[in-house]
């Protein structure tokens, strides 16, 4: 069995006073050993809900309605909480967006790291401390002995994110879910953290699910990419396939709305409008309302995936043989 993690037709809804909000509407992907899969999309596209479903950390109002999440062949979507606790933090762990709020302000750094080691590794106090020092050293925190006794507020944002990474990696997890791990950090600190994550991934052979909206970070980190929109994966492929041979108009729009550092252009190609309301999702393709190429059928039926290679598929009616041929606005011939 090659895939470590396999998600199939995952559907997650929030049940609110205003009715059911279908945050994730049939998402499927797989994650191989040692690879980095980036899930990109805007806020509300369901990328964080997907990652929280894998961790089984969904809010009480949310429910996995359908689908399976197989970790090493075992379906963890329906696992009892007690058994999930053995997996969470040991086999699958998570780095959160905001290092200011994901650490407990009333506990020392040392206590927060050893907590994991004591629970999952059954280490004793002294041994856990020793391992915690090693971990802090591994994530590049100077004077680890001193830092162990400090509280989160005594550390800078970048340092705190390093601590969060140390906690996540304490048990050598097989899968690491990083939900916008650098969004709250400055660019120079972001560069440090991304380098660190790559280094640790190679050392520990961890698979990473990287959730982000920053396509620059994706280009830097990912081997494969899944583009999410309105609770669905609209396109998935290797990082090169998505950036250079993207097939879905939403992928094109995302790439075109980023300013290029090395080119001067007068106007950015903005995607007009806003994402649909998922308490009443559109019948057809969710992007149709904002898509410049939308046809009649797009508003009525959701397109199936078209395979472009073993790794590359997109859900768009333009790929249908009866649809008119459309050129990506990015294909200006300036790309190698």
């Amino acid at each position: 069995m090659d895939n470590l993690l396999e998600v199939q037709d995952l559907q997650v809804s929030f049940f609110t006073y205003a009715g059911e909000v279908q945050a994730v509407r049939g998402v499927g992907f797989s994650l191989g050993r040692g690879e980095t899969l980036a899930i990109v999309g805007e806020s509300g596209s369901g990328k964080s809900v997907t990652s929280k479903s894998i961790m089984r950390l969904l809010a009480k109002s949310a429910k996995i309605k359908h689908g399976s999440i197989r970790f090493e062949g075992k379906d963890i979507a329906s696992l009892p909480e007690k058994q999930m606790q053995d997996i969470r933090g040991r086999d699958i762990s998570m780095i959160f967006q905001d290092p200011m709020t994901s650490l407990n302000p009333t506990m020392t750094i040392g206590k927060q790291i050893t907590e994991v080691l004591k629970k999952h590794r059954k280490l004793g106090g002294a041994e856990a401390n020793r391992r915690a020092v090693e971990l802090l050293d591994q994530v590049g925190i100077p004077n680890p002995d001193k830092r162990l006794k400090q509280y989160p507020h005594q550390l800078s944002g970048g340092m705190r994110q390093r601590v969060v990474i140390a906690i996540a990696l304490a048990c050598n997890p097989k899968v690491l879910i990083a939900d916008e791990p650098t969004t709250a950090l400055d660019v120079t600190i972001q560069a440090q953290i991304l380098e660190l994550m790559k280094k640790l991934q190679q050392e520990l052979d961890t698979s990473i699910v990287l959730i982000t909206h920053d396509l620059g970070v994706v280009a830097n980190m990912a081997s494969r990419v899944a583009v999410m929109y309105a609770g669905k994966i609209v396109e998935t492929g290797t990082v090169d396939e998505i950036f250079y041979e993207g097939k879905h108009p939403y992928t094109w729009g995302l790439l075109a709305s980023m300013p290029k550092l090395h080119e001067k252009s007068e106007e950015l190609m903005a995607i007009p409008g806003t994402p649909p309301d998922l308490s009443d999702p559109p019948m057809g393709c969710p992007f149709a309302a904002r898509c410049p190429y939308a046809m009649e059928i797009c508003h009525e039926y959701m397109p199936e995936y078209t395979e472009h290679s073993e790794t590359h598929r997109a859900a768009c009616w333009l790929q249908d043989s009866r649809a008119p041929r459309v050129q990506s606005p990015l294909a200006g011939g300036d790309r190698p």
């Binding site: 120079t188 600190i189 440090q192 909206h213 620059g216 970070v217 990082v239």
Partner: protein, 339 residues
């Protein structure tokens, strides 16, 4: 839009300082001796990491903060110091601000009309209610919203739409100079492009001058004519946006540029990064001499002893670094760093 040679600057900032007393006899030097000009019709970008003082600088320019030392003049007139009521009003009509967080910067108990018309009322711009309402309708259309939005409340809008309301509010009093403090960083990528395009369009139509404060260098480059880079309360480099990206001089600017991940996987794979060591030092107790020396790969003893002078290294390209001071005779090689 490029300014002609010999044009008078619209905003002149001279040796501006803003210090905060943080108690226990400690002083936080958020902005420490910054000088630059902004010319009519241009977009001046201000970049730097959190805590570098860029927002404090913006707020001091519009006198949301009193300056500790130094002067800011707008169209030849001092912004700070003793002012009569009418002088103050005139100034606050000319300079407006757009804030970062479109969720926190709009009063959620006021309708869109009342939010936008607050400035119109304060300055008595509209003759009667009908004219006031018409002005609001026009402003809504200018920023890409429509009449039907006028009687709604902020919570009924998305982030991008709220930012449009914030822009309409700033434009209501016909300002000449708009300070935009991270106007797009709370928005999604596809929405960011919408707001930036709108700001560019308005600038052309209304002849506005912008101070665009942001930490996202690629967006700043896209919108700005000239860019100033700040580090720990001081400005370290200032030049045209093309020059800054093609020929950055200050080591901090170089690391900042190399840290930005580019949305191009092939380029990313071949890129050598200059990764900065360590964290930002505390602005309460900044390093002696050059502020950047603790993290600078080229730092020498001179950098610790003496603060570099803010000077024009090339035509229109200002930098504060000993490496570019002809009187200091230093070289950019790492080998020379130990000398």
């Amino acid at each position: 839009m490029k300014h002609e040679k010999g044009t008078k600057p619209l905003v002149e900032v001279k040796h501006l300082k803003k210090h905060f007393d943080v108690g226990r006899g400690q002083i936080l030097k958020a902005v420490d001796d910054v000088s630059f000009d902004i010319y009519p019709g241009e977009t001046f970008g201000l970049v730097g990491e959190s805590g570098c003082g860029k927002s404090t600088l913006g707020r001091t320019l519009i006198r949301l903060y009193e300056a500790t030392e130094g002067t800011v003049s707008f169209d030849g007139e001092a912004v700070h110091g003793r002012k009569s009521n009418s002088e103050r009003k005139k100034l606050s009509r000319s300079i407006q601000m757009i804030f970062q967080d479109p969720y926190a910067s709009l009063n959620q108990r006021m309708t869109v009309t009342d939010i936008i018309a607050e400035g119109i009322d304060a300055h008595g711009i509209a003759k009667n209610r009908k004219e006031r309402q018409q002005m609001v309708y026009d402003l809504l259309e200018t920023v890409g919203l429509n009449r039907s939005h006028a009687e709604r409340f902020p919570h009924e809008f998305s982030g991008g739409q709220r930012q449009r309301i914030g822009i309409a509010r700033a434009l209501a009093v016909h300002p000449r100079f708009v300070i935009a403090d991270e106007p797009i960083s709370a928005l999604d990528v596809s929405i960011q492009a919408q707001v930036v395009n709108l700001m560019k369009k308005l600038q052309q139509e209304l002849g506005l001058t912008y101070l665009f404060i942001a930490h996202d260098l690629s967006m700043v480059k896209h919108i700005s004519d000239r860019i100033g880079v700040m580090y720990l309360g001081g400005m370290v480099e200032l030049t045209s946006s093309d020059e800054l990206f093609e020929n950055p001089l200050h080591p901090y600017t170089k690391t900042l540029l190399s840290a930005i991940p580019v949305p191009d996987p092939k380029l990313e794979r071949g890129r050598e990064r200059m990764v900065l060591q360590g964290d930002l030092p505390s602005p309460i107790n900044p390093p002696s001499g050059c502020r950047f020396r603790t993290r600078c790969p080229f730092a020498t003893e001179l950098c610790a002893a003496e603060a570099p002078v803010w000077q024009e290294a090339e035509q229109g390209h200002w930098v504060a670094c000993h490496l570019y001071d002809p009187s200091k005779n230093m070289s950019l090689s790492k080998e020379g760093a130990g000398a």
